[in-house]
Subunit: 171 residues, 2 copies
């Protein structure tokens, strides 16, 4: 699947100077590349009886919701504080400077449900770690955290120790 | 499809007092309801040769990206200002008080491509109108704006005059 990399565009100095941003919009807007990506990500879990796929606001909703459809699973949203309308649980995680939080609906996962966490990029692992905490609060069972790409030099894997992780592409 | 309404939860006073929010998260997290919704929305366009499906940040990404997959189309993101990394076009639309803007990548749509705009709710139509403007700037052809539900009393249809609209559920 290495040739999917040709659909990922480098944008220098985004979101701030010195950062080389990996832009996946060319992949998403190419029908064959997008379909291939989803099918390939799904293949690994087709026999895993996934109950719930979780996606994180905002870009994370894209591949996660599509995988939920493909895997005959439900789709659950994890959002920034104040965005979910019903009763929520919250998890806080650290950023370079300060902290941020994510929320999940209290009725989003039933105890024992098998959960797949999907996002486009694994960077420092802060977001994914917060999602894992939210799933644990609700008693869900994490099958794996699945990423399109992993930025190896940021060492997110270290933060997610003990959680199964899979990434299709590595940078 | 009226019975999909039983998966849509009324949340009073969200996001502010006096508003009865239609919460679609119970629908998304039910595998059968979610799959039925996507398949039913897609059915109308299966023979329409859709090139691109557009979704609007953030909740709009969910059904739009899944429909893109189902329709063998590409998926294009419309986002809030400053969120898209590459060169963009911008459209401004009015809110109750003041204005807001949305952006699209300049290379997101090729002239003549057939575009489906998908969102979960048609309310006042401000967002959808801005998306239609962005598609027009890029020379795309709007096949239809497709919504899961339409809040008829907000009269969004009036704002989108001349644009084909379809909604599965009405409130």
């Amino acid at each position: 699947m290495e040739d999917l990399k040709k659909f990922i565009r480098d944008v220098p100095d985004f979101p701030k100077e010195g950062i080389l941003f990996k832009d996946i919009t060319p992949l998403l807007q190419d029908p064959v590349a997008y379909q291939t990506t989803i099918d390939y990500m799904a293949y690994r879990y087709m026999k895993e009886k996934i109950d719930i796929v979780i996606g994180v606001e905002a870009r994370g909703f894209i591949m996660a919701s599509t995988l939920a459809y493909k895997l005959n699973a439900g789709f659950v949203l994890v959002r920034k504080p104040g965005k979910l309308p019903y009763k929520t649980h919250k998890a806080t995680y650290s950023l370079e400077y300060g902290t941020d939080s994510l929320e999940i609906h209290q009725d989003a996962i039933k105890p024992g449900q098998r959960v797949l966490v999907v996002d486009d990029v694994l960077a420092t692992g802060g977001t994914a770690d917060a999602v894992v905490n939210l799933v644990n609060i609700l008693g869900g069972e994490i099958v794996e955290c699945s990423f399109l790409m992993e930025l190896d030099f940021l060492n997110g894997k270290e933060k997610l120790k003990g959680v199964p992780i899979h990434s299709i592409l590595h940078y």
